[in-house]
Symmetry: C2
Subunit: 356 residues, 2 copies
């Protein structure tokens, strides 16, 4: 048997599936998971689908001490005619490798991992929910497992993929959110790990998140770590501004995640002949545009929400109301187009989806 | 039974202990470990000493995805007259809580954790090696364990303490190292997690470390993330410079770890009436001092090495040789004093040590 041939151990005990669209995010997991191991002399080996079960690791496993880990997030959607679609999964696997490079984690064979992913989702296809707005969230992640306290890259790794049925991000449709422009805490800086999907970038944001929640705001808009002036991301999403008919989004500076929804939106806007620019965007510029009545729309983009319209930006007490707190026309059109492609109701002229 | 009363389950299968001072760092673990759990409604509870054994966690446990974790590192030393000493462990536990605050992890009761630590080390006292330069490395760590993919603080945690006998940091005594001044990668920035002992700060350094190793250098000197000009730390140690008779070390800016060896050195220098200043130190200033022949000594400080003399700094090709690549007089004196106090051969006038 080749070490790249997948083995499957089926779970005899099937769990009950969600019976409505009210599914809490990331708390229910399917019956199986994918696992593959890495050792220096064997490379990635023993790809296998096994029952979803606890992981057993030495307490000295490096993941617990030095955070050598990367992850991805994507979704499988069920179409009206009962097909299952993935949205640009090749981009996620490519980004997984990019993140791994930054964290000194060995690269995976992207095509093989795609095959394994599809095999897993095929086996778990009944878990892709068919209620409105629901999907099956896919979480690939790699962890360093060597039991050693030396501050050095792990010699062994585990790649796992777990699946979780999830409800609609916005209950009752798209809903604009209020966002705090964060001035105290920093998410990332040039030369750091901001462009990588790695664990440490997320828990380091909890204090700023908690501060926003206390003020009744939904999320955080991060500024650059150097001048605290240039806009980076919102929460764990990228951000776009429509100013006087033109769309702008912060350029990938090295500290911003290269979002796949972000990329898709830029491609759609090009196709629609709507001017879109990736460049440095300062919070002062946004405030000026707001004062001049030219800040037309603001929206976050990411796998979870696809488009998250921003109804208000709170910058040191200055409250910028955007589009009267309502969903902008472009935000709605982008949302409808991308979710339509993802769910098979809008023609996929870009070949973004893959059928499982 | 009070929830803070420790229970002990003894390990019937004792492992062989190291038979010489040649012990690889952080690869051998003792027979027992300490574990304590946290749940929102119970607080920290069920403190227990159990056989060292694998941890079983859900693959969705938050530690694997969002890196909510903190740790500490300290050592137990065996004295000539067979007592076991800890060096300022109260400071480590205090710092654990500081780190936890930044990572939104619940605080521990510092006095209780100290009692648990001492209980564990007492039980494992035969594991404190008596070969020259050896010690028992102590690794407390806390991980978020809730099985959930929501980007939010975990509702459950585990605090664990594992112990590892370690050999001398420098084989054959103190040895100056060559260090690369890192210009591309960034360790931390104001508003980030640089002051916390948290996993993500360590794996994010691996690429810079690898670059230094390729050039035959032992470690990395980090500059600030904003101007890439001010000195922060070396590797995972703090750094000191002796310039024209005066000792300077970077001030704690929010992105530098508050080292316990660093603190102890500053206190000793004050006591010895040697001028010592905590302030911003730029790499240009160091280069100027070097050119003027005033850069007398450079050394890193940390739990692992205590003092690590720097024999050469490599800054974009400029090689600064320090003290002819030899150990400075002050570095040696600080090393002898602190290791002497730690091992009970120098009088502990500051009450830094605690006998187990």
């Amino acid at each position: 048997m080749s070490s790249s041939t997948i083995t499957i151990v089926k779970n005899a005990n099937k769990k009950p599936k969600p019976q409505s669209k009210e599914i809490a995010f990331g708390r229910t997991f399917t019956d199986h998971m994918f696992v593959m191991d890495y050792e220096a002399d064997k490379g990635w080996h023993e790809p296998r689908i096994v029952p979803y079960e606890p992981l057993t690791l030495d307490p000295a496993a490096m993941i617990f001490h030095y955070g050598q880990t990367v992850f991805e997030g994507m979704k499988a959607y069920r179409t009206e005619d009962d097909r299952i679609l993935l949205f640009r999964p090749d981009q996620n696997i490519k980004r997984l490798n990019k993140s791994s490079e930054r964290l000194s984690i060995p690269q995976v064979d992207e095509e093989r991992v795609m095959e394994y992913l599809i095999e897993l989702i095929r086996l778990e296809q009944d878990w892709v929910p068919d209620f409105e707005g629901t999907s099956l969230y896919i979480r690939p992640f790699i962890i360093g497992t060597e039991p050693s306290l030396a501050v050095a890259p792990s010699k062994t790794y585990k790649l796992m993929v777990i699946l979780s049925p999830v409800g609609p991000y916005f209950k009752g449709g798209l809903k604009p959110v209020q966002i705090n422009v964060e001035k105290q805490f920093t998410r990332a800086v040039k030369g750091g790990t901001g462009m990588a999907k790695t664990a440490g970038n997320y828990s380091s944001a909890y204090q700023a998140q908690a501060k926003a929640y206390e003020e009744g705001l939904a999320d955080v808009l991060w500024l650059d770590g150097i001048e605290k002036r240039y806009i980076e991301e919102v929460g764990s999403m990228n951000i776009f501004f429509k100013i006087d008919g033109e769309v702008v989004t912060p350029a990938l500076s090295g500290s911003i995640l290269k979002g796949i929804t972000r990329m898709s939106i830029i491609e759609l806007l090009h196709k629609w002949d709507i001017p879109v620019t990736e460049r440095k965007v300062s919070i002062d510029e946004i405030y000026q545009a707001y004062q001049d009545g030219k800040l037309e729309e603001v929206f976050g983009t990411g796998t979870a929400a696809v488009i998250s319209p921003v109804g208000q930006l709170n910058w040191s007490g200055e409250k910028m109301d955007i589009n009267n707190g309502e969903i902008g026309e472009l935000s709605q059109k982008l949302y409808d187009t991308i979710t339509g492609i993802q769910r098979g109701s809008v023609e996929d002229t870009e070949n973004w989806t893959i059928e499982v």
